[in-house]
Symmetry: C2
Subunit: 340 residues, 2 copies
């Protein structure tokens, strides 16, 4: 494992994506979301994706200069055609529209289709929360990796859900795959040469395994939390895919890999108790939760706290990368004649 400064990786990412045809603002946004994922500890959705996106641009799946187009709109809603540009560019446009519309209409819903992988979903919801709105994002993944509760084999994607709320301090942040873990966490374990807990995936025969490679050999992820997580997994599929016209996990995988169907909902607390009152009460509730005695003698964590804590540390210490990933990124930079 090596440690690299965020600033260095940021500059590198922007150079990689501009070299591959992305206009600078788009390259900056995509890189920023990946750096932020790495900084907040979501390594599986971080700098590692320099490689995957470069590959997808070269194969024509990501059109690095494509601009999302609003195809349907009302004062409080919109449907966006991502035109197969960067998923981040589409998702950011979706959340910007959602925030703008919720400020005028108290609540908004904005969806997107023809959308590539958007990365860490919490980036967008926390962005809304930092602007004083509650942000929700329901996402499906058009790439089956996860079984359904009680069922055998891959049926749906890892279907992440995120919700973030302003508190006047760092935002409350719920941000997770509705599978036991995100696919990227297994890829990360493979890249890092680590074993995984035996409840993350099933092997191709449906048995438990601690070998992450089994997921690439016909195994599958499970929904988290039994039938309750499974219900949430399916809700993401209906909101992300059926409502927006995006590819479902049950469809043939024609076109780009790991597409996302996205629905953002933003809510302005000013339409209810008011933003100040909402933030004061939220802080009070979260403080009381935080003060709870921990079972293990440690501390109870608030959703978002691990992220913001990891970011403060990594901003100083740097971002950790397995040697294997760093050598691939270096090779990519070399191919593109990038020197930093």
């Amino acid at each position: 494992m090596i440690l690299l400064p965020a600033g260095y990786l940021r500059e590198l990412g922007v150079r990689i994506f501009t070299s591959l045809g992305a206009p600078r603002p788009k390259a900056e946004l995509v890189t920023e979301t990946l750096i932020e994922a790495s900084l907040t500890g979501h390594d599986s959705h971080g700098v590692y994706y320099f490689l995957r996106y470069a590959d997808r641009i070269r194969k024509g799946f990501i059109r690095p200069d494509a601009e999302p187009v609003v195809v349907r709109e009302s004062p409080s809603s919109a449907l966006v055609d991502g035109c197969w540009g960067f998923g981040q560019v589409t998702a950011m446009r979706v959340m910007e529209l959602a925030v703008e519309k919720a400020r005028r209409s108290v609540v908004s819903a904005v969806g997107a289709y023809n959308c590539n992988h958007i990365g860490r979903v919490g980036y967008y919801t926390a962005w809304a929360a930092r602007r004083g709105l509650i942000g929700l994002m329901f996402v499906n993944v058009g790439h089956p990796m996860v079984s359904v509760h009680g069922g055998v084999g891959r049926v749906l994607g890892t279907n992440p859900f995120s919700a973030s709320a302003p508190t006047g301090e760092e935002p409350f942040l719920l941000d997770y795959a509705t599978s036991t873990v995100a696919d990227g966490k297994v890829s990360w374990a493979i890249a890092s040469g680590e074993r995984i807990p035996d409840h993350w995936i099933r092997d191709r025969y449906g048995g438990p395994t601690t070998d992450p490679n089994e997921l690439r050999e016909g195994g599958w992820l499970l929904p988290f939390g039994g039938h309750k997580g499974y219900c949430l997994q399916l809700l993401m599929e209906l909101m992300g895919a059926a409502l927006t016209g995006s590819r479902s996990g049950v469809d043939p995988e024609i076109g780009p890999p790991s597409t996302n169907g996205v629905l953002a909902v933003a809510i302005d607390p000013e339409g209810f108790v008011g933003l100040d009152s909402f933030m004061r009460r939220s802080r009070e509730i979260l403080r009381r939760v935080k003060e709870t005695r921990a079972e293990d003698g440690g501390e109870v964590l608030i959703p978002g706290e691990p992220e913001w804590r990891t970011r403060r540390r990594r901003e100083v210490e740097g971002i950790p990368l397995p040697e294997s990933i760093w050598s691939q990124i270096s090779k990519l930079a070399e191919e593109l004649s990038i020197t930093l």
Copy 2:
């Protein structure tokens, strides 16, 4: 266990609540939600509540004739003061407003405070779905029964979440407490003299137990699904309590027991791919999920399927009630001089 026809219990419920001062339409609505809960198999939220609500009316916690008041409104949002009437009356008003507003504005958000126990949350979201809208309801319970992830003791309520979507057939229905189980399921086990699985609750010392009575002796429920369910539990608290001005699980329990803070969000698929397309795609996705081979050789169930199946059976066979509950209901009817 005895079996009683739904029609008989419906008439009895209406008579009980009107005898206790409820105007007939309110008595009918409350009874209907409880009968529907029993019919769909949610016994813990069903006819059993004839007793609890009667007790709360007598103690002055539920004002059976109170009408909810809209205190804040925009074309796509509203905040409702439940005025401590029946929770069902408030929740129904919330969802009616949400549906009406979403039809005009594509999306809506309606909250409520001063709201008594609303019963089974899926009643309201499925009601929206049967009218062609996606209905979400985020609910907190102002009565701490559940620990937070990694923490000791009762901190928050069972904080249910529900989402329902139209499919052209019976609606998709996610409807659950964000605790391992609803408090009412433990009460039901106590009333039925049954043991419970050892992961439902902790005893007063923090250890596992199969005795449901331990929950009444200082034990607590756990959030479902580890840290992921815990995040959802907290989201319900922020949306249900902080956004609407309702009592939080961390507040002193002054006033009515088991109050609910409610936020409904309704989305009209017509603002996206259109209702017909949304339903067709949803059916297609759910059919493919349903066709998945089951691990245990049985069948994979779709969210809502257990409910609609149980209802079809109980409409014919009747609603099962433990003798102890039926004898208490009979006693209540006698006190109120109700003969059927």
